[in-house]
Point group: C2
Chain length 221, copies 2
DNA sequence: TCAATTGCGTTGCATGTGCAACAGGAGGTG
DNA sequence: CACCTCCTGTTGCACATGCAACGCAATTGA
């Protein structure tokens, strides 16, 4: 585990822990575990008690489609966390399967060790709990933002909402986005070519200018 | 506050607290507050530190649309909670306005009093924290389920997903839904008449039978 | 240098569905 | 009974957009 300290100490989960990291991990009975390519970390249907943090490689959160196809809900890469909501909400049967495509190394923590103050009542525990709550609440807000975008009726409205949030983030009407077109389309739950088309229209109408991933918003939107 | 104990003691927030409720509320420095019709509880832009629990009446979570129209995101009625994600994630500026249409009475709790163990380290505090985490994590799962439905491309697929989850909940291929058509349409983010139309098609195709709010699923979906 | 791959834009077509308008039934009220 | 309101279903139309196919430019790799 020690060789991953450089990752672990930077995690939101352990913010404010500092030099006590080793003790805290011991107190939490945290363990690392390796998985081979295509191995399953959490099977759909079983009770998930553990929060997992990816230390190396990546994992996929997947689900069975109605036709039995496996669809990928999310990819969690290094420093990412999975299973926290399921474990903290105490669900009995996981609705998702977590699998690693190319193998991975993860840190596993029983949530009960986090949310139950230990006998030693180590002073860092309170900090851990704050962090945990912060993480889940933030995720909550992210999901809300996603729903905000999803519930826009037209692609134009989704784009405007996206542009507004980017302008806010960058505090400028010019910004570079980190998405490729395909990725942006996925994020907006739209079709790539439809996205291209809509961007063209908006350029024609003098609402935006863009070149590759640089965008400039010309009107108040 | 005492006259609302019958509501408060049943809240998820205070599950497992039992007879210590009064002390716990004191320890949390919880207060009740009344609002007149159309009064604002949380203004967009201010920092929300409080979790609110509706004891009487109801509140609306609203947002300014790009055209300046006020759109309603959610309605919180008696025993409902608002502001927990914003407060726990420590956001600086509330993206939403909370307003009460007809007046209300709410219980306000500073989240810092919840997530920071009090000096007396009252033994119930650990339970409170567990409850808080449980609530936020559960909300998280609800949001995920909503996104699951939202990301279905067609109304047919949304309906199938809804029916599957209802069959699972009721453990039967016959069930009564609690939504009126208009409400179901809202839940699925679809148009009411389009929903009616799709249901008709599905009946024609022999996939479902229904009468009013009773549904029967005839095929493996 | 040639071939393959990736990213992006364009376009024609099919279709899902939002919208508006209307109809009919159930239930409530004067 | 007459009238109103609420809930649901039906239908014609318009339109947004998913999809597939193609072209082009830039990049990568053999």
């Amino acid at each position: 585990m020690e060789k991953y300290f450089y990752i672990i100490e930077k995690l939101d989960m352990f913010k404010g822990i500092g030099d006590d990291l080793e003790n805290v991990l011991k107190c939490l009975k945290a363990v690392t575990k390796s998985y081979r390519p295509d191995e399953i970390l959490v099977s759909a249907g079983v009770k998930p008690n553990f929060v997992g943090i990816v230390l190396k490689g990546s994992v996929l959160i997947t689900k069975e489609d109605m036709d039995g196809n496996r669809i990928i809900i999310a990819e969690i890469s290094e420093s990412g966390m999975y299973g926290e909501a399921l474990a903290c909400a105490g669900v009995k049967f996981s609705p998702v399967t977590v699998i690693t495509p190319n193998g991975c190394e993860v840190l596993l923590i029983d949530v009960n060790h986090i949310i139950t103050t230990c006998n030693l009542s180590c002073k860092m525990h309170s900090q851990l709990i704050k962090n945990m709550i912060y993480i889940i609440a933030s995720k909550n807000l992210l999901l809300n933002r996603r729903i905000d975008i999803l519930t826009q009726k037209t692609l134009r409205e989704k784009l405007l909402m996206f542009f507004r949030s980017e302008m806010e983030r960058n505090n400028s009407n010019m910004f570079k986005i980190n998405f490729k077109r395909e990725e942006l389309a996925d994020y907006l739950f739209a079709n790539r070519s439809a996205l291209s088309r809509e961007l063209s229209y908006m350029r024609e109408e003098g609402i935006i200018e863009y070149d590759k991933n640089m965008f400039k918003i010309l009107k108040n939107i």
